[in-house]
Each structure stands twice: as structure tokens, then as C-alpha cells.
């Protein structure tokens, strides 16, 4: 997956979880739990959605890396090579 594809996937799934969030205002580097008040259930749903779209198995210990877009991109790129 390219970086752009991962970003598109991430934003699409984030929109499903938090439909009220304006995606173009998301700072990719900042943890969404602080930025838009996502909770552990939201992060879990994000991890599940990303797993289902990419097939990458994400251990629970790595969930925190799903909490920012940059973190997720870096994580998926490292896992898919």
C-alpha cells in the first residue's frame, strides 16, 4: 500500500467512527484521543477496520500507534514490507 492509500483508508474509517469530525482539520501527527476525544472503543474500531481492509494483524500492544494518522502510516508501512 502506498502512503496515500493508507491515508485515504484511515480517513475513511475515521469518518465512519466519528462522522462529526472535519477530516481536513485533522493534524496527522497528533494523537486523536487528545485531538478529537476518541476513546478506547474508537481506537479499537479503527484497528479492526484497518485490519479488515489490509489483512495486517495488529496486536493489542500496538493500538496506540493507530491513534494518529502518521503513526498508522508508519506502522502499516513497516508491517507490509
Amino acid at each position: 500500500m502506498t502512503e496515500a492509500e493508507i491515508k485515504a483508508l484511515y480517513l475513511r474509517e475515521l469518518h465512519k467512527i466519528a462522522p462529526e469530525v472535519e477530516l481536513d482539520k485533522i493534524d496527522p501527527a497528533i494523537d486523536l484521543r487528545e485531538q478529537i476525544d476518541l476513546d478506547s472503543m474508537d481506537i479499537l474500531n479503527l484497528a479492526i477496520a484497518i485490519h479488515e481492509s489490509t489483512g495486517v494483524d495488529i496486536p493489542e500492544a500496538d493500538y496506540p500507534q493507530m491513534a494518529s494518522m502518521s503513526g498508522c502510516v508508519a506502522y502499516l508501512r513497516s508491517r507490509s514490507t
Partner: protein, 414 residues
């Protein structure tokens, strides 16, 4: 023949707006079917029906706001002949044993029932409930919104785009799915006002709670190292899609503890405590737009942790999307609020009437913990109980918290 009334979806609801009918006259319904979508100022609710039969007549049209207890539709019991739409007038009939405790509220003087002009509607538009709600808030005519969602469905973004577009010369002239003119008590409820409305609704319920319920409060620290270690090991065995959150353990422990101390579980109605056989656990879920809502997971005590997790995921998803079911809103018998991994260490909640107890869990913190003469670092949670002193005393409340603590020491048995 039976009446389908605007249900009371929680102690804080006085009026509801019929956003959408999912049935039409002649449709056969069974118990539990979702027949209408209702907006309650706090959430969009999919209203279930509790009798089987055939929809005979729809009395309140889409877009109209009516008080709790108003006749919404008439249902013929199965086998009963359906008198064709030779419409009896839209007046509540001399209620034959209405299923609601409250007498049907009189129609509000501010909302004279407008002539029932049926919006011309050859085909049903596909509109997400969230979009529908936003459309009402923003006064957007859905008939004029172009849908960009799946199968041309209208999404929230579509509605907002339409709201920003310059208004046409004669707004609201065409037949509209929006609120009928005059149906709304207040002049304009903009999106920004939605927050204010939500606060007002919460204010009413919480003020009633503090006025009527003599709260007592208890708290105890619980070592959750065993629970967390068990959960981590369990989740390692599970694929991503089946992993569980820690709060599921809390919900199950609270539900099981109510079996030992039943005075915590049920309703205080008309001066007496009515215990509930099963524990429908309300889960306080905060809304990112502000405010909170506490829908119930049904009969938590008999469900497995995995089942509770599936229910919780589904519930949170629908809360976020702003769509809940009537039974979830109305029938929680006890509420749990868990601050999870963020927030503060202690929470003492306000009981949601007519319930009689609320259990709070603070965030997990690592603390020095003495046990067996040794001090070690353990993950610790402050569990609190807000109890209704009319239904129980502090002694029983203490036993209740102690039971929860004991249950959490044996997570594999939950």
C-alpha cells in the same frame, strides 16, 4: 385494535418529533420491529413496537413534534379486519387501557395540529438518520438535497452543503419532509442550538434526580492487576475483531453483583422500589459534540463477555452515529460510568431516575499496593457507588461494591 403512542424514551423526554415512518398502513408488524424514527432533542431513536398486528392508520405525519403519550398510529391485531383508510379523525381515541402509565398529554397549545398534508412521496428517499436530524436542525428541505452516499443516499455532509448554499427565493414552499410550519414551538432551532437543547434536557433530568433522590456515596479502591492480566492473555488468543475492552469486565461484574444485592437494580416508582429480575446495564457514553447518553445493554448478567463486547461495540457505534433504539433508551435498570484510560481517578455520578444506583469507575492508575505484608506497584481503580437512600442503605451499598471487587479478582469466572 391497539394504539401506538409516542413512547417516553427516558425520564428527561417530554416531546418527540416523528422523523420518519418505516411502515405504512397495511404493513404487518411483529413485536420488536422498528416502525418509526423519532428525534428526542437528545438522540435519534429507532422506535420499536411492542405488539404484533397490522398498521391500520398513521395519525402523526413525519416532521411533527408531539408530546409523550400522543397517539402516533393505530394497529389492528392479527386477524382483526383492517378497515381501509376510511380515516377516523386524528384525535386520540378514548384510550382502551393505554400501555403507558401517564395519561396521554394534552396537545400543546403552541402546536395546533396542522392539516395533515401528505407530502407527495412516490418513492422513499434514502436518508441516513443522522442526516435527517441535521436537516431538521438546519431547516434543510431534504427533497432538494442531492445525495452522494451509497445508492444516492443523503448523508450529513450533503445536508450541510445544502445548508450553506444560498437559500432559494421561496424557502420551504414545496411540500417538505421537514417540520410542518407551526409544528415547532420555538422559532428556529439551529445546529448550534442543538447543544443548548441537549444541555437543557440533561439539566432537567439531573435537577429532578438531585431534587428527588437522596443520594449516598461510597468508594473503594480495587486492585485490577488480575483482571487486566487475564484480559491481556485472553486478547492475545483472539483475532483483532474479537478482542475485548476492559470495561466489559466491569459491566459483567456489576450485573452479577446485582444478583447478590438486588436493591441496587430496578426503579423507584410511585413511592416504592420495584426491583428488576434482570440487569439492563446503562452505559454512560459521552458525545463528542457535548453531553452524554446512557443506553442499556440488555440482560448483561446472562451474557458472555464476548457477547457483551459485541453489544457494546454496536451501541457505541450507534451512539456516535446518533441513532439508538427505544428499548435501549428507556429500560436501563442500573447505570455504569467508566472513565477508561483518560480522565480522573474518581467519579461520583448522579443517579438517572427512576433508577436507584450508579456505579462509577475512575481511570486505571498504578499505585503502591500492600498485600501479604509486601508492597508492590499495582494497577488500581477507584470504584464508587451513588445509591438511592430510599431504596437501600450504605451497609448494603458497601456489600455491593465489595461483591464487585471480589468478582473482579476472578476474571476467568465472569
Amino acid at each position: 385494535m391497539a394504539d401506538f403512542l409516542m413512547p417516553s424514551l427516558g425520564a428527561d423526554m417530554e416531546v418527540g418529533t416523528v422523523l420518519q415512518w418505516l411502515v405504512k398502513p397495511g404493513d404487518v408488524v411483529k413485536r420488536g420491529d422498528i416502525v418509526a424514527v423519532v428525534d428526542t432533542e437528545k438522540a435519534t431513536i429507532e422506535v420499536e413496537i411492542f405488539q404484533a398486528g397490522v398498521i391500520q392508520k398513521i395519525v402523526v405525519p413525519e416532521g411533527e413534534k408531539v408530546p409523550v403519550g400522543t397517539l402516533l398510529a393505530v394497529i389492528a391485531a392479527n386477524g382483526e379486519p383492517v378497515t381501509a383508510a376510511a380515516a377516523p379523525e386524528a384525535k386520540p381515541k378514548p384510550a382502551v387501557a393505554a400501555p403507558v402509565v401517564k395519561a396521554p398529554a394534552p396537545p400543546t397549545p403552541s402546536a395546533p395540529r396542522p392539516v395533515v398534508q401528505k407530502p407527495a412521496e412516490p418513492h422513499r428517499m434514502r436518508v441516513s438518520p443522522l442526516a435527517m436530524r441535521v436537516a431538521m436542525d438546519l431547516k434543510v428541505d431534504l427533497a432538494k438535497v442531492k445525495g452522494t452516499g451509497p445508492d444516492g443516499a443523503i448523508t450529513k455532509a450533503d445536508v450541510e452543503r445544502a445548508a450553506k448554499a444560498p437559500p432559494p427565493a421561496a424557502p420551504m414552499a414545496a411540500p417538505t419532509v421537514g417540520p410542518a410550519p407551526g409544528a415547532q414551538a420555538k422559532p428556529a432551532v439551529g445546529a448550534a442550538d442543538h447543544h443548548a437543547t441537549m444541555r437543557k434536557v440533561i439539566a432537567a433530568a439531573m435537577a429532578r434526580s438531585k431534587r428527588e433522590i437522596p443520594h449516598y456515596y461510597l468508594g473503594t479502591q480495587i486492585d485490577v492487576s488480575k483482571a487486566l492480566a487475564w484480559l491481556q492473555a485472553e486478547n492475545l488468543k483472539r483475532p483483532v475483531t474479537e478482542r475485548m475492552l476492559y470495561s466489559v469486565l466491569l459491566l459483567k461484574a456489576v450485573a452479577l453483583a446485582t444478583r447478590q444485592i438486588p436493591e441496587m437494580n430496578g426503579f423507584w416508582i410511585d413511592g416504592t422500589f420495584k426491583p428488576s429480575e434482570v440487569a439492563h446495564v446503562g452505559v454512560a457514553i459521552s458525545l463528542r459534540q457535548g453531553g452524554l447518553i446512557a443506553p442499556a445493554i440488555h440482560d448483561v448478567g446472562t451474557k458472555t463477555l464476548s457477547e457483551i463486547m459485541v453489544n457494546l461495540r454496536d451501541l457505541v457505534k450507534r451512539v456516535r452515529a446518533g441513532v439508538l433504539r427505544s428499548s435501549e433508551i428507556a429500560d436501563a435498570t442500573i447505570t455504569v460510568t467508566s472513565l477508561g484510560d483518560q480522565g480522573v481517578e474518581t467519579v461520583f455520578g448522579v443517579i438517572y431516575p427512576p433508577q436507584v444506583a450508579l456505579v462509577g469507575f475512575g481511570k486505571i492508575v498504578e499505585r503502591p499496593w500492600a498485600s501479604g505484608g509486601m508492597v508492590g506497584a499495582r494497577p488500581v481503580v477507584m470504584a464508587s457507588l451513588s445509591g438511592d437512600h430510599r431504596a437501600s442503605d450504605g451497609h448494603r451499598g458497601g456489600l455491593f461494591l465489595a461483591t464487585i471487587e471480589r468478582l473482579l479478582q476472578e476474571p476467568e469466572k465472569l
